[in-house]
Structures are given as C-alpha cells and as structure tokens.
C-alpha cells in the first residue's frame, strides 16, 4: 500500500483511537464473544489490535472481516475499559472500511438495497426481525431471495424467529392512532414519542401501552407522523450515508414540537438517537439542532422515573428478573431506572441474574446473520437466568425481547416463564380508572 492510501485507511478506520488501548485485558471478562468463542481474536482487546495491524498494513483488511462481523457491538467492553477506549468508534471505522472494500455479489447488493432503503425507513413497517419477516413476504423479497439464492448467503434462520414474534396488528388499528394524547389529570410536561420502525410494526401494542403509561404518569404525548427509522442498522452495517439522511429527517420531524423529551422504548434506537451528534459531526450547520435533539432523547424508563413513576399499580406476587439492553446500558448509560421501576411494583420480587449486563446475543440482526454464535451466547444467558427462578424476564428492547422468547423456547420453559417489554409489564399492572 502506498503512503497516501495507508493514511486514508488509517483516517477511516479509527487508527488514532486504537492508541488508547493499553492491552490490559480488563475488558476480556465483559465480552460475550470472548466467553463463548474462546479466542483473543474475538475479544475487544484482540479486535482493537487487529484494526491496528490492518491500519499499519501488517495484515490484510479481509482478515479483519470475520472478527469484526462476529462482534455484537454491545459495547460492554467500553463500560469495562479503564482508559475509556472508544471501541465503538473503532468498530464503526472497521465496518465502514470493510463495507467499502467488500466485493458484493449482485444478489447481496440488491437485497441490501431493498432492506436498507425500502424496508427500514418506511414508517408503515418493521422491526429488524419482525421487520424483515414482514418485508420478506410483502416486498417480494421472498421471491427475489429464492431466485438469487439469498438464503445461501447467510444462515438466515428466519423461520425460528417468526415463531416468537407477537401477533400482528391490523392496518386499521394502526391507522386509528391519533397524533396527540393528552395527560390524564394535570400535565407535568409534554413529550413526543419516537415510534421506531421496529416497535411500530411488530410491537404496535407496546407503543400504545407506552402512550398510556406516559399519559397516566402525567405527560401529554405527541406522535409526529413525519418521523422515520432511527438508522441504527444502517450505521452498524457501514451504510453511514443512509443513516445520516434518516437522522436529518427525524431531527426535522421533532423540532416542530414544543416538547421536553423525545421518548423511545427501544434501547437500540435510543442509542442511535443519542449518537446523532457524532453521526452528523462533520456537518456544522446541523450542530445546534442535533444537539437539542440528542439532549431531549430519552428512554421511557428515564422519563417515567422523572415523572415520579406511575400512580397506581396492582399488587400481585411475581418473581422477576431483568435483561437490560446493551445499548441502553453501555451506550445510553441508563441502568438504574428500569430496575427501580420494576421494584416499585407492589408484590414484585426482583432477582438480578448473574452477568446481567452481558449481551443476550440478539444485537440488531446479529442473531439472524450469525445464528450459531448468537445461540451460544443465548445459552450462556439462559444458564444465568434459570437460577433466578423468575417467572418473568423484563427487557427494554424488542430485539432482546425476541431473543429471550427464543431462549425460553430453547430451554422448554414456555408456560412457566414469560418475557415482556418493561412497558407492557408496567401496563399490565396499571390500574386504569374508568
């Protein structure tokens, strides 16, 4: 490689960030892929070193692909790192470089184009899994997939995920949703809801429940129609330009409202929203608006906590454990509020599972494209869940929710254990005055 192209590569791949790593290994115990795959190559420290090696032309870029693609992006290593090494930036840089250099087949290109530019940004659809399922049938992707042998590209065990998806909501029910829901009683403040493409397709009911919780807790809720997909999956797949476009659409959609918070209920989307300032950092004219948007973006648990919790909850004994979303824990750094909310529910006995902050293996579309690796990680998770003897696993992200359902199924625990989104769990106990 000549000097200039090496410099370009270093710039793009986040070479500078790798110098923050002192190779102390403190991140090793936090990393789920290191635990299940048992190789330094699949540890944070190992991946950072490999990015450095590639950036110094000591290793072929292509060699980086497997270690990077097998990373969950859960960022548990960032939380563990005492020198605050920005692994997220290094990962992002590596993905971008890999995406740019990949010689994709026509089939793969076409598929990605449909998935990223048609499916995800369309507000009428989607969850990354439910989403793909939906699109798989409805957009003709199925036919295309068969024709192009897409199914051979990756072991897409979509059928398995379909079984754990919540039942869908009719378009009529969706359409009947209003644009504004006032607080019950005296309003403490006004918020706008980020519906999320994922949440709004397969988890429509959860979104409706969230409106209800917010109303009862004392917030007026707007649901801006112009909003679109958060762009997380695009960004994580190296499709940075599309992610930027989506970010701008969202910022514009919400700035029209006079609100205290932009509330979301999916850890992954929330993390992406909270990183818009980084995403758009090279566009100074967007700086101010982006900053405001990022400041206002909050997870539902934080907002409910700030509102003083929920007024009246039904008392019933139940053993509960919690699987936090990585993006909520390690990117948004929200760890206290969801548990605090669970613990305020009368009758609930809360039991933390071992290594709770470790990823469950869902991680965006990781469990679809790296099915076997994801299931190994899930098995470890379930081995920590079992000893809690919980009847309910509460989660804060749709991906984690599906993964936990999958885990329950794999362990044959259906009937005795259920998985629920925090919002649905709270809504179930909410005493609604008529």
């Amino acid at each position: 490689m000549n000097e200039q192209s090496l410099k370009d590569l270093q710039q793009k791949i986040g070479y500078e960030y790798t110098f923050d790593c002192v190779q102390c290994g403190y991140c090793l115990p936090a990393c789920p892929t290191y635990e299940t795959m048992g190789k330094e190559t699949h540890s944070p420290r190992g991946r950072i070193n490999l990015v450095k090696m590639a950036a110094e032309d000591k290793m072929d870029i292509e060699e980086l692909r497997d270690p990077i693609e097998k990373c969950l992006g859960c960022q548990a290593c960032v939380t563990a790192c005492p020198t605050n090494t920005q692994y997220g930036r290094i990962l992002e840089g590596a993905k971008k470089v890999l995406n740019d250099t990949e010689k994709k087949s026509v089939a793969k290109k076409t598929t990605e184009k449909i998935v990223f530019s048609k499916l995800f940004p369309s507000s009428s659809s989607m969850d990354m899994v439910g989403h793909i399922m939906w699109g798989y049938e409805k957009t003709g992707l199925q036919k295309l997939a068969r024709k192009t042998k897409l199914t051979n590209l990756a072991p897409l065990h979509l059928g398995k995920f379909e079984q754990v998806l919540p039942s869908s909501v009719s378009p009529k029910e969706r359409k009947s949703r209003k644009n504004y829901y006032p607080a019950i009683g005296k309003a403490k403040f006004t918020v706008a809801m980020f519906t999320g493409c994922i949440m709004d397709s397969s988890f429509f009911t959860t979104n409706q429940n969230m409106i209800k919780l917010l109303n009862y807790a004392g917030a007026n809720v707007y649901i801006p129609e112009e909003q679109t997909c958060c762009g997380a999956l695009h960004a994580h797949s190296g499709e940075v330009n599309q992610a930027k476009e989506l970010a701008k659409l969202n910022i514009e959609a919400f700035e029209k409202y006079n609100i205290e918070y932009v509330v979301n209920n999916a850890g992954g989307c929330g993390a992406q929203l909270s990183e818009y300032d980084h995403l758009l950092s090279e566009e100074p004219e967007w700086k101010a608006k982006t900053h405001t948007f990022v400041q206002k973006s909050k997870d539902i648990s934080t907002v409910l906590w700030h509102l003083g919790g929920l007024p009246l909850l039904e008392e019933k004994e139940e053993l509960v454990t919690y699987q936090p979303s990585c993006h909520l824990t390690h990117v948004q750094k929200v760890t206290r509020e969801p548990k605090a909310l669970i613990e305020t529910i009368p009758g609930v006995i809360f039991r933390e599972m071992k290594d709770e902050q470790k990823c469950c293996g869902s991680a965006g579309i990781y469990n679809i494209v790296n099915y076997d690796e994801a299931m190994d990680i899930l098995d470890v998770k379930m081995s920590h869940m079992r000893p809690t003897k919980a009847n309910t696993i509460v989660t804060t992200n749709p991906g984690c929710l599906l993964q936990m359902k999958m885990g329950i199924k794999r362990e044959g625990l259906e009937g005795s254990v259920r998985a629920m989104h925090l919002v649905d769990f709270l809504a179930e106990r909410l005493v609604v005055n008529s």
Binding site: G25, Y26, G38, D66
Partner: protein, 469 residues
Amino acid sequence: MKKKWHKKLDKVIKDNKRILTKSADLLSYGFDGSFGQFKPERVVQPISREEVAEVLKLANKHSIPVYPRGQGTCLSGGPLPVKGGIVLDTCRMTSKLIIDSENLTAVVSPGIITSKIKEAVDKEGYFYPPDPSSAHVSTIGGNIAENSGGPRGLKYGVTGNYVLGLEVVTPEGEIINTGGRTIKNVTGYNLTSLIVGSEGTLGVVTEITLKLIPKPKSRVSLLAVFDDLGDSGRAISGILSSGIMPSAMEIIDKYCINAVENYNPAGYPTDAAAILLIELDGHPKAIEEEIRQIDQMCREIGARDVQSAVEEGEQNKLWEARKLVSPAIAKIKPTKISEDATVPRSKIPEMFERLNEIREKYNIELVVFGHAGDGNLHPNILTDKRDKDEIKRVEMAVSEIFEAAIDLGGTLSGEHGIGTMKAPFMEKELGHIGLDMMKRIKEVWDPNNIMNPEKIFPEKGQSKLVLTE
C-alpha cells in the same frame, strides 16, 4: 506453506478448531500487556496435560520454540512469541477447581481466572490472599509463572507462598509432580519454588495445589492523606516499625490520584501530594487499637486527614479505585512503561527522591504508585511510542530507575517478572556468575531451548532497554 511439523501438530490436537492458523488469530496471540507485537506460526489451545505433553514432545523433536500464555496481561513481555513458533494458550484448561476443606487446600487448573478461585474459596469461608490488581483477568497459571504479588504481599506474601505442589510438563514432554499436598515438605530440591517465577522457561504448569488460610474475622481500611510525599514515606516506616502489620499498605502519588479521579471518581482527594491506603485485618478488638495508633502516628508525621472505612461497600470502593490506577494513568499518554523496581522498605523515601530526580532530568511523565509496605514501587512512565525523541529519553530513564533500585539494595522486579523488558539488566543485579548459574539450570531442564526462548536471559551484548523498533 505447510511444514512437516504443522501436519504432525494436526494429529496431536485432534480437534482442529483448537489449532489456529489464520493471520488474524496468530497476530492476536502476539502481544501482552507490555510492549511489542510478534507473529507465531501456530496457536494451540490444549485442554489436557496429555495434549500439552504431546505438543512439547513434538516441539522438542523439531526444535520449535513454545510460548505458554495465559491471558496475556504480563507487563514484562513474558508470553511474547519473539521467535515465532507455537503459542500455547492455556486459557481452555479450566476443568478443575476443587476445594479440600479438610486439608485447607485447593487444586486448580492453570487456565482458571484468579478471581474465580478467590470467589470459590471465599464461599467456603476461607481465604486465598494473593491479589494482583489483574486478578479478575489473569490466570492462576500466569500468576504462578510470574510469582505475582499484590497489596497483601506485605503481610501474607506472594503467590509462591501459597503453592504447595505443581504438575508440570517438562520441555521434553514428560509429566512431573513437584511438592505435594502437605504444608511441610523438605524432600530433595524445592522444584516447586524453582518453577514458581520461572516465567514459562522451564515447562508448562498443568495443575496447581494451593494453600488456603482461614478468613480473618474482620477487616478495616484507612485512607491517610498527605500534603508531602516525604511525609507519607516516613509514615510507612513509622507504622511498620511500631509493630503493626497491616494486611496491605499502598501508596498513590498525586498524578495517579488525579488519573483515577478523572476516570472513575472514588473520592480520593485530588489536591493531596500522596495518599496511603491501609488495610488491617484480624480480631476486631486488636484492629480497633491499631486504627487508633495509626491515626495518631500519621497525624503526628503530618497527615492532613485520616479516614476509616468499616463497611464492606466503602472498603471495596477504596480498593476498586486502587485497582484502576495502573490502567487509568494510561490516559496521561498512550504508551505506558510500567516498572516494578523494589527496594528495602527503609529506602522508600530515598527511592522517591531518586525518582523525582530522574523525572526532572529527563523531562518525562513519571508517576509512582505501589505496594509501599513491602518496598515494591511501580514507577510508570507515560509516553508516546510515536515520539522517537522522547522514547530515547525514556530508555535512559528506565535504565537509571533500575540502577537506583539496585544501588539501594533492591531488585529489578518485585512481581512483574523479567521477560524481555528487564533481561538486559539481569547481570547488573545478579553478577556474571549468578546469572550463569541460572543459565545452567535452564540448559539442563531445556536442552533444546524450546521453552519461552529469549526471556529472562539477555542476548549477547544486550545491556540496555530498546523500545524503538
């Protein structure tokens, strides 16, 4: 190109998933917590002593260098595959963790993470004192090889003081046992002690019998704050000569305090020149009296403040922060040269002065923390590998640190080992004959020089540290 021994290796370890050959995998086992990057030809991940033995037999026959590796947290270059060959990753050897209550011992596999042993032992109501700051990352095998220590070394000693017996695969692929399960054992040469601290140059440890002790009844931590570094040194001597034996006594200078507080605030005072972190354990009545004495003594010497933490949570917070010092100071500048020159306790104040002179003379970022109670200081130099000019000054400073330690009757390493980093200074400490005796032992154990070559012993004519590539 596949060499003959590569093919043979495939037969020795049948599960080919545990033989790594891809560039990315090989490079991933080419570094540790210190300096340098190398590329082995193969990485093997054995799970049993038999597999280790077969690998060593093969390597010995073909004269292939073998580099044992735990979690690669070594700070002196111990597991670096400087001559290629095979990296033998012991991390998958985790099958055994047995606690024998009747004999107060534990039998463990080398790949087990030290903190897992501590947890298991604690659950049974016993105590395994050695506590390197890297305990939640490093393997017990690595601890044995480096004879790792930690804050508790003062009262309880280092890893080696708790090893009763070892199972070792010799460089020729034979399996031997040293020591045993008895507390007393004087049969023949003490090979256990020879293997402990041999940094993987005499064989691969495949099983370890550890001595456990009863858990002390209670424990209290004290934080003494000083506005003068010299005062803190005097307080250390004062406490130790008064007959009190703290279970740990750590010193942290102002640079390290600030690094930790910037990273993850623990409530250390950022305007102090140094703090002493003292832990006392034993009978609650005795501790009560000792706290009173230490408090009084520290204040008389010039401590601005002395606080005690009794609650476990508070104590943990103080000590967790101490564990962060080493990585947190790396925020000052990206390249960290971590030393562990050790001096007799009475020489601590003098060593501080020498370090201060070196800091000024070479105009470098030199910070100090360490196990003050046992004289094991960790002068750390923060620099940037890319700044060639500064690196030259750092190289000279490091040499001078070692000279100072040896001058004061100290040693090159209190716990991090020699590896590649300190090999050039060995003759200075041991003398020509002393070093030669060690070499002869190595030659007898490992006639083909396959076990971790180029560690501990300097190359011909090598007498200074070289950090630039």
